[in-house]
Symmetry: C2
Subunit: 630 residues, 2 copies
């Protein structure tokens, strides 16, 4: 397996000046990050690191540490985008507190230090110990990369060193791994930041060990004398059953071909698998991931790129089982799906991965936060009877911080660069400067994407330079025009990218005009829930009906097959265009329950808004998959 | 309120010689009645009357007695249709055993005599004591009317006398009533058989007391010191909650305007209300029933005339909540619905009641038994993924015997007669002789209904007589031709009946030709489950798709809106015609999960069979409400 020659351009080096994203990034910094800190503080998550828990106090949750870790990570990223002395100090104080909780042996976990210290490492399946460690390692790397400060990084290296003594193939070591994958990808980040091969090795050990027979989670239960795991009571609830598919430990990872279980766990594991494939040139891991990706995107993904069909396992169910109203589509899973696709894209430049990133960003990810940046969806269903609303916080509150760290780093997903190539993946108004063999090149995008299909990319090398500029042709686009300095260029994409090799000089300008009509999207006929229904998409954005515009009983509306769908900027905030169409609704005046003819219909104009924008006005029903008839 | 002048012609006086029904009646006699007896014997229900239960033995169920009672009732009716000495003797033996269990004070209930004698009458809500008494009273009346033997009748009069001392408005009496209505209508039958006004009074007391405040079931719980009712554990299961709506005791019966709760209980209560209205000239009870009937038929009835949307309460849920696959539609409820409509029809000659009787008989009732008469549906859903099948017996086995007693008495639903009128409600090949003021009149129907719309009614008075013959014009029929002795008569129906007043003479013949095309039936738009779907009906018979004919995934078939639907006698047993049409199915070859166009379709011929006939061949899927598209 060859290593690809291009790497992501860091978000630190990308300046976003986009009508769509800049405001979201600002709100994330100004509102979401302070709100998450306040919640972590108010709920005791931060003060848990003081280790002054006494029996009788409210018991900290086993995964509280991870919420603080993700806040540190997100806040560090925010600092990189926009320096803020107070935030810098608050992060330092929080890190001081976190590190003060580290034990002499390097161990660092509030719950298992103060509540049940005798149970350290006895319930890897459910207790999230390595998961919390992983998130704190990611926080440490982020803080170090943004600020250069090593305090948390050093502490987490000590913790990783400790973990490497506990886990491993040698006598006296545990051949275990975490029920919730996360540490695997975190250890690779720690390895990349420190170049310490032990961390890469440990990550590989966790990934390789997963799913071996006998299953470690069965073994540890026997060691516990059969005592319950932390969440056995949860799995005994009606409709739930624990199986090893839940945490992807039912088979060795290279033998897994079908996505199963808890969706966030799956995304984190698969992300680590691609990282390891890249770092260790182990193609078998990449092959497995591509098989899993195909299975997921062909049978188990919502049109919003949301994933996870059931709240019962927070994850995958059966092929084509994609219920709309009860869809889980956890915000964290969408974020994890972006992570995984971004890694896949850097193992294989294929537009299908960037298409998914884009589909997720504009739909299932960004729906997770309200327009004011203060409220969050944990689950993102595709239909609602009016009782699903964003909330300020959740008991299990992984999603707000996960979304926040993605929003702070949205710049990471736009560009990649190699020695003599520049790749543009996502069209967002922004600028960056990359270093190539031929010198530095300034790149600037000017666009009102995703509302307008026109994108200008200015390529400004410090001096004329031979360079391949690769530009993604979005998968949703059926017709596009491409110009270089005003001259049309034929659009010949290979795996979703058009390559322009030439000598570039200051003043050079590329222009895309993506044809962006309103499209009717149909689901595979095996998706029972969407039979006779259509979804409306324009560019990468999925639209929906909301009660605020169309009244109650949205499911009783039938979009006419031949109805023209028009894009109208009708004064919605942030310049978000609405889409109008013509539908019919059957009259309910005639009370006869069964009749030989259909009831009378009334024709009405319906208004659709982007899915991500729903639940920002008066509460009410929402529907993505609209009934359609002639 | 005036009493109507016509009464049902007893099934004893109606000879059925019908291609559709005769075989079912025969199978009921030859197979179903012996099978029910065997089950009652094998499960200990019959021997429970020996009262030799000892602690540690399997505990009899509180409503076992009612199964034996319904067998005695059904078997007695069968005897009337076709005398069988062995059956006569078996009924007598069973009655001897039942009566031997009667206590000196007249009390007769196996469970509360041997298992928990101290709990007599302490849990009217759940313990089915009066319900069991009611069924045994019905059995007693049936046996007496068919055989003239008084043993069970006398015993049940003693029991009714005893009950009349326990319940009533006087000091020392309980102001209670049964959680499962049944005794109310049974007491009226006992009154009609014996002319003892006390029984009518007691029935009226039970009906009038129901739903008064404070609710009796709350009162009896207090008397028990808060101890659980028999089925409190059942009501604590997920999704279930007990409310007084469950047994229609949430309001005085005259104030009830919406059908609620357990469907069989509702039907038995409403039937008693109509009986009481007729016997006591209390129009307020009839008014309430008509309001309830309208609510049920306009918002909560399946197209098969099945009722009860949920297994959780075995009953009604919300208006227009008519899920197909999880429909309850208990066979007993369909039977009870026939009882109620038959009573309403004799309070008010209105074709809408006979239409419901017909719709129930040809669909939700007769689907309850297999073609070989040996297996039964308890619930009759309108769609199945292939896992719903008739069974030989159930732990709670009300349905087989309930269906059996209806099949034995199907003749009861065909004709009514008054002093100078004869009414034909249902078109079934049969003959009867009625007594009118002008002498006896022989009536004979010749027809292949419901497969053919031609019906000949021969009216043969012993001598020429003035007589009004009323003939029902079925509600499903949009066009009909009517002839008397070959001369066309204008079809002018009042409330669903055409009245022909004239002097009738031997040799007179009426002929109906009902236009009987295949109809597409649409549900009210508020029935969410049936949006975009159509049901196929011909005459009174609802058709369905079965996997045996159309392969798997019936829900993926779309009947074309303009497809011709043709009736074909293609060799199905019993001459049951099939209906053929043209449908499309989307190709699943293209694996893409979301696409901008619909997938290719293949056109195929589909075959539909009567709903009642399903699950008589190889097990598989079934669907009544078929998707439809242009």
């Amino acid at each position: 397996m060859k290593r690809t020659a291009y790497r992501p351009v860091s978000f630190v080096d990308v300046k976003i000046e986009d009508r769509f994203w800049s405001n979201k990034i600002r709100l994330n910094r100004e509102r979401t990050i302070p709100a998450i800190y306040k919640q972590c503080k108010d709920t005791g998550r931060i003060d848990a690191f003081r280790l002054n828990y006494k029996p009788g106090d409210p018991v900290p949750h086993v995964f509280w540490d991870s919420d603080v870790a993700k806040w540190i990570e997100a806040a560090s990223y925010a600092l990189a985008n926009h320096y803020d002395e107070n935030l810098d100090r608050l992060i330092d104080q929080t890190i001081d507190l976190v590190v003060s909780a580290q034990q002499p042996d390097g161990y660092l976990n509030t719950y298992f230090t103060v509540v049940e210290p005798e149970k350290r490492w006895t319930d890897l399946r459910d207790a999230h110990e390595l998961y919390c460690a992983g998130h704190m390692m990611e926080a440490a790397v982020a803080h170090y990369q943004v600020t250069g400060k090593r305090k948390l990084l050093d502490a987490m290296c000590r913790y990783a060193d400790h973990i490497a003594t506990v886990f491993g193939p040698n006598p006296g070591q545990k051949p275990g791994y975490c029920g919730h994958p996360e540490i695997e990808l975190a250890l690779i980040r720690l390895y990349r930041a420190t170049q310490e091969p032990k961390y890469l090795e440990l990550s590989r050990f966790f990934v390789d060990e997963r799913g071996k027979s006998p299953n470690y989670f069965d073994v540890e239960r026997e060691v516990r004398g059969g005592a319950d795991s932390y969440f056995d009571a949860y799995f005994r609830e009606p409709g739930r059953t624990y199986t090893h598919e839940y945490n992807q430990s039912h088979a060795p990872v290279r033998e897994q071909t079908r996505v199963t279980g808890h969706a966030v766990r799956a995304m984190y594991l698969y992300s680590a698998m691609v990282d390891l494939a890249l770092e260790t040139r182990d193609e078998s891991l990449l092959t497995a991931c591509k098989e899993l990706w195909r299975h997921l995107t062909e049978t188990r993904m919502y049109v919003t790129a949301g994933i996870g069909s059931s709240h019962l396992n927070e994850g995958f169910t059966e092929d084509y089982d994609l219920p709309n109203e009860t869809a889980y589509c956890e915000t964290c899973a969408a974020v994890g799906f972006v992570f995984w696709n971004h890694r896949l894209l850097h193992a294989d430049l294929d537009g299908q991965f960037s298409d998914i990133i884009e589909r997720a960003l504009y739909n299932s990810v960004i729906s997770g936060v309200s327009e004011d940046g203060k409220k969050f969806f944990y689950d993102n269903p595709l239909a609602s009877k009016g009782n699903h609303h964003r909330r300020e916080w959740f008991d299990v509150s992984c999603c707000p911080a996960n979304l926040s760290r993605l929003l702070s780093t949205i710049g990471e997903y736009l560009y990649s660069a190699g020695d003599d190539e520049l790749i543009v993946h996502q069209y967002i108004q922004s600028s960056t400067e990359i270093q190539t063999a031929g010198g530095s090149v300034r790149v600037r995008q000017i666009t009102d994407y995703p509302w307008d299909g026109k994108v200008t990319v200015q390529v400004t090398p410090e001096r004329p330079a031979d360079l391949t500029v690769k530009l993604r042709l979005p998968g949703w686009c059926k017709q596009a025009e491409l110009k270089v300095n005003g001259q049309s260029v034929s659009v010949q994409a290979a795996k979703g990218y058009v390559a322009l090799r030439r000598q570039w000089a200051p003043g050079d300008e590329i222009q895309w005009i993506f044809d962006m009509p309103v499209e009717r999207v149909y689901a595979h006929p095996s998706v029972k829930e969407n039979r006779g229904r259509v979804a409306i998409q324009r560019g990468p954005v999925i639209y929906c009906l909301e009660e605020a515009d169309n009244g109650k009983d949205l499911d009783g509306l039938y979009l006419l097959k031949d109805a023209e769908l028009t894009v109208v900027s009708d004064g919605q905030p942030d310049g978000i265009p609405a889409i109008y169409g013509t539908a019919v609704r059957f009259s309910v005046e005639d009370r006869q329950l069964y009749s030989y003819g259909e009831k009378k219909t009334e024709t009405l104009r319906i208004r659709m808004i982007p899915y991500f924008y729903w639940d920002n006005r008066v509460p009410g029903e929402m529907l993505v998959w609209i009934r359609e008839r002639s």
